[in-house]
């Protein structure tokens, strides 16, 4: 029960240095794993960085992955500010994508400029609806949100298999996918947008949803820290009794926080469905919803941190995929090991490293005072 001496390290140590140390540790352990399979870790690192940032197409791919991570990271962060651990981002993104797909499949007689906002609204509504049910269960019946959201991930997966296998499947086709959307509904790629203005970058799946992700970061920041509703979220998240005292209804905040969280996760569907795949298909969420938890943790639930953390995970996803071209031993399984280690250190072990880094900083840099009355 010994309380540690209160350590006051400046904010940049907690926000900046600690994640870097975590990252370094992850890289060191990863390096050892690479060594163990008989490869040169520095060579792998060089290939990884080149794969993520080395040429224009690579950067495009990295930012395309980053887009997904920003959406799912924001989703987790908004819920955490209200004291809720939403680990259903995966399912909410999946259903959000369904909403985008339905709009694009059935409203394709409308022009793009009408369909785009409808698709954004559908992504938000579908994602929000998928989060609303667990939120309602938590607020009214006390069912724990962690349990219900993770179960809703499975329900979402089963629902999608059913819909794509039986209902939305393109007739006369074996694979469970819908037909392709009408051409005019493809969300423009960034390289397509930039070409007419004379800027030429490499072809990549990076599309306009990246801009929407950045807009969402600003909106989330303003909402959480600058509005009375965000204030209510944070009050409930920090101290529910104080919230009740302040006339704030925790159950209402629970529902709204989850709805907004689910909507943000749902936006991932715009990137994947309308921006890249142009059809509804299975498993397009590919675990991005879960990585969002690590992104939010590493980004300390702040939009700026989330963009940086999302960029890191985007770069890893893209960079690691390039390594096997040169080093076959770093195969798909090794990629997962590397990603897993980063998530472990950056996310789960955050609290293992932080106190030590802070104490080390204070020990090294705190201005020493001369004892006033020495013996």
């Amino acid at each position: 029960m010994a309380t540690a001496e209160p350590v006051r390290a400046p904010a940049w140590v907690r926000v900046g240095l600690v994640p870097l140390v975590n990252l370094l540790l992850a890289f060191i352990v990863t390096g050892l794993v690479v060594l163990a399979v008989g490869e040169n870790p520095f060579e792998v690192l060089r290939l990884l960085v080149r794969g993520a940032f080395g040429y224009p197409e690579a950067i495009g791919y990295t930012l395309y992955y980053t887009t997904n991570f920003i959406f799912t990271g924001l989703a987790v962060a908004v819920a955490i500010h209200a004291g809720l651990f939403n680990i259903g981002g995966e399912g909410q993104a999946y259903i959000g994508g369904l909403g985008v797909g339905l709009v694009c499949l059935y409203l394709d007689f409308l022009p793009f400029i009408v369909v785009l906002p409808l698709a954004i609204i559908a992504a938000a509504l579908f994602g929000a609806a998928w989060a609303f049910i667990p939120a309602l269960l938590q607020a009214k019946r006390g069912s724990h949100i962690v349990i219900t959201t993770i179960m809703f991930n499975f329900i979402a997966a089963a629902l999608m298999v059913f819909l794509l296998g039986k209902v939305l499947i393109k007739p006369g086709q074996m694979s469970p996918e819908s037909r392709q959307f009408a051409d005019h509904l493809f969300l423009p790629k960034i390289h397509e947008v930039l070409e007419p203005v004379g800027i030429s970058i490499g072809r990549s799946p990076l599309n306009l949803s990246f801009i929407w992700a950045l807009v969402c970061c600003v909106l989330v920041y303003l909402f959480i820290w600058r509005t009375r509703w965000g204030y209510e979220f944070r009050t409930v998240g920090q101290n529910e009794r104080a919230a009740v005292y302040g006339g704030i209804s925790p159950s209402r905040v629970t529902i709204w926080a989850m709805v907004i969280s689910g909507a943000l996760a749902g936006f991932m569907g715009i990137n994947e469905i309308m921006g890249v795949n142009h059809r509804l298909l299975l498993n397009f969420t590919a675990g991005y919803g879960f990585v969002g938890i690590a992104v939010a943790l590493m980004g300390r639930n702040h939009p700026v941190g989330i963009v940086l953390a999302a960029l890191l995970f985007g770069a890893l996803t893209q960079g690691v995929a390039e390594v096997p071209f040169d080093i076959p031993a770093i195969d798909r399984e090794m990629q997962q090991v590397i990603q897993g280690l980063i998530i472990l250190f950056a996310g789960a072990l955050e609290y293992m490293v932080r106190p030590h880094v802070e104490r080390a900083y204070v020990a090294l840099f705190r201005p020493r005072r001369q004892p006033v009355a020495a013996e």
């Binding site: 010994a2 920090q238 302040g246 006339g247 705190r366 009355a373 013996e375």
Partner: protein
């Protein structure tokens, strides 16, 4: 450390040289505790400044000072939670480095914390042995411990059922378990940090009897408090701290409340509140037949009816846990009453869907009993705490957004008007002392200009300077024609502030104590459930017998 091999530091054992400690009673035995020139910084704060202290063996030594004076820091150094930047600790004359709480326990120092360190679903016996299990099988440890525990209970009059589950015990008994834990670990020197903060007056008296028994058996007790009454009632010696420094050492028999208060605050303090006649206005709060049932289905408030008029302070006295908290919560809109009427200026709010927000809209403000858990969000900056409950008010919003400029301006004004220190609106609430936190809450509620102010334990854990200040503000509000309902377990506070006193017992209002017939004995009896007429007769009889 196992229960079997306690080390009792022997007295003497080559007493160190130099008995230059201040206020050390002349004696042969070295002092039980001697602190020499202790210094401790937290960042820019010099929390302990060249502190020297000598505590004689077999005495009760009080350390008094306002919140933030450095008392708790000093005791945390003595108990090994913190390490001093410089200085020396001697135990029984021996220089003893105390780097961790285990070092302190080994040196025979035990600590009873303000907030108990108990495992609530465990029994008393299990709590006492916790961390000292000497055998792999719990049953064997417990059997050995039971005999020792019973011996300790007998010796010091610390009656607790070893097999009772701690969460079912009253607070006073839980505190006895903490003391037993320390004694079981071989404590010879016992530190108690604000031990009466959570106790009723009766429980406090029980505690004092136990402390006296401990002293008579040769134990040394260090009592940290900010309550002068306790210092005068129980201690042998007292040391006063102010702003990180030790400002005086006195023999308790040679000092007075007024002198100690002045030493603590650094200026003359008015211990009595002065107020004029109440100028009564219309009825603001009218409660009729109110029943409140808690979440376990227990009826906490039973058929309570009373009124509060503009311009008066109505005090509700009672031993803690007799329904006052639940009454206050229902009036504030935090819980819904099961039955009855609550009328605010004639508007009946019970039976509707009412929350704290609607009550605030009816100009009912509320200073909650537990500021840390209800009145503030301790991780929020002061300016965010200053709008809790009023964050939707147009004055703090501009369109969709909170108006940061006006919030900061209002917070600065509030901090200046209520002398909140430090006046930094960006500092997290947790970093303010208890008194300053309470000033933020009181200021927020009073400046909302309510017609009715509900106040729960306004000065619990608040230092003298702030108590005086808060009391004056409440009186000023009453004189401005506002209605105030005051709930407090501090009888002194109720008696000095209230225009009318109601006494609550077991959910009922036992009666109203008339202005001209209030004395501590009558109210005390009513707090035990005796109706007014009987109580008066008994009080008279007792007075006559004296």
């Amino acid at each position: 450390m196992s229960g079997g091999d306690r080390t009792q530091p022997g007295p003497g054992g080559g007493a160190g040289p130099g008995h230059a400690a201040p206020a050390a009673p002349a004696g042969d035995a070295p002092p039980a505790i001697e602190l020499r020139h202790i210094n401790k910084h937290f960042g820019p704060v010099h929390a302990n400044r060249d502190i020297s202290l000598s505590v004689a063996r077999g005495t009760i030594h009080g350390i008094i000072g306002e919140n933030g004076a450095g008392k708790s820091t000093l005791m945390s150094i003595l108990y090994g939670f913190y390490q001093a930047d410089s200085g020396e600790i001697r135990v029984n004359g021996q220089p003893t480095p105390i780097l961790t709480p285990s070092d302190a326990i080994r040196a025979g120092i035990g600590m009873v914390h303000q907030h108990f360190m108990l495992v609530y679903p465990f029994t008393v016996l299990e709590n006492v042995v916790l961390g000292t299990e000497s055998r792999p099988l719990l049953r064997e440890t417990l059997a050995g411990a039971r005999a020792e525990l019973e011996r300790l209970e007998r010796e010091y009059g610390l009656e607790v059922d070893p097999d009772a589950v701690v969460e079912n015990l009253p607070v006073g008994a839980q505190q006895r378990v903490e003391i037993l834990k320390a004694l079981y670990r071989g404590a010879d020197i016992l530190i108690l940090d604000e031990p009466t903060g959570v106790l009723t007056p009766q429980e406090a008296d029980d505690l004092f009897r136990i402390l006296a028994a401990l002293r008579d058996q040769g134990k040394t007790v260090i009592l940290i408090t900010h309550k002068l009454r306790e210092i005068m009632a129980i201690t042998d010696n007292v040391s006063v701290m102010r702003q990180g420094q030790m400002v005086a050492h006195r023999k308790t028999s040679e000092t007075s409340r007024d002198e100690l208060a002045e030493l603590m605050v650094g200026r003359k303090v008015l211990l009595r509140v002065e107020k004029g006649e109440a100028q009564l206005g219309p009825v603001i709060l009218d409660v009729e037949g109110l029943d409140v049932v808690d979440h376990l289905g227990v009826r906490r408030v039973k058929d309570v009816s009373f009124q509060v008029r503009a311009g008066e302070i109505v005090g509700i006295a009672g031993v803690s846990g007799n329904g006052q908290s639940e009454l206050l919560a229902a009036l504030a809109g935090m819980t819904r009453p099961a039955k009855g009427h609550i009328r605010i200026r004639g508007t009946d709010v019970a039976g509707h869907h009412v929350d704290a927000r609607t009550m605030r809209a009816l100009k009912v403000a509320h200073v909650p009993e537990d500021r840390q858990r209800e009145g503030l969000v301790t991780s929020f900056a002061a300016n965010e705490c200053a709008i809790l409950g009023y964050h939707r008010a147009p004055r703090y919003n501009r369109g969709l957004f909170l108006d940061r400029g006006r919030i900061l301006g209002a917070t600065r004004q509030l901090m200046q008007d209520y002398d909140v220190r430090p006046p930094n609106p960006f500092l997290p609430a947790a970093n303010f002392s208890g008194g300053n936190q309470q000033k933020i809450v009181v200021a927020r509620e009073i400046t909302s200009d309510p017609d009715l102010l509900l106040v729960g334990q306004p000065t619990r854990g608040v230092d003298i300077g702030a108590i005086e200040f808060i009391h004056r503000r409440l009186i000023a509000m009453r004189d401005a024609g506002k209605a105030i309902l005051l709930v407090s377990v501090e009888l002194d506070e109720i008696m000095s502030l209230s225009d009318r006193i109601l006494v609550m017992f077991d959910g009922h209002i036992v009666g109203e104590v008339p202005q001209d017939r209030r004395d501590e004995r009558t109210i005390g009896l009513m707090m035990a459930g005796v109706p007014l007429e009987t109580a008066e007769a008994q009080a008279h009889a007792a007075a006559g017998a004296h």
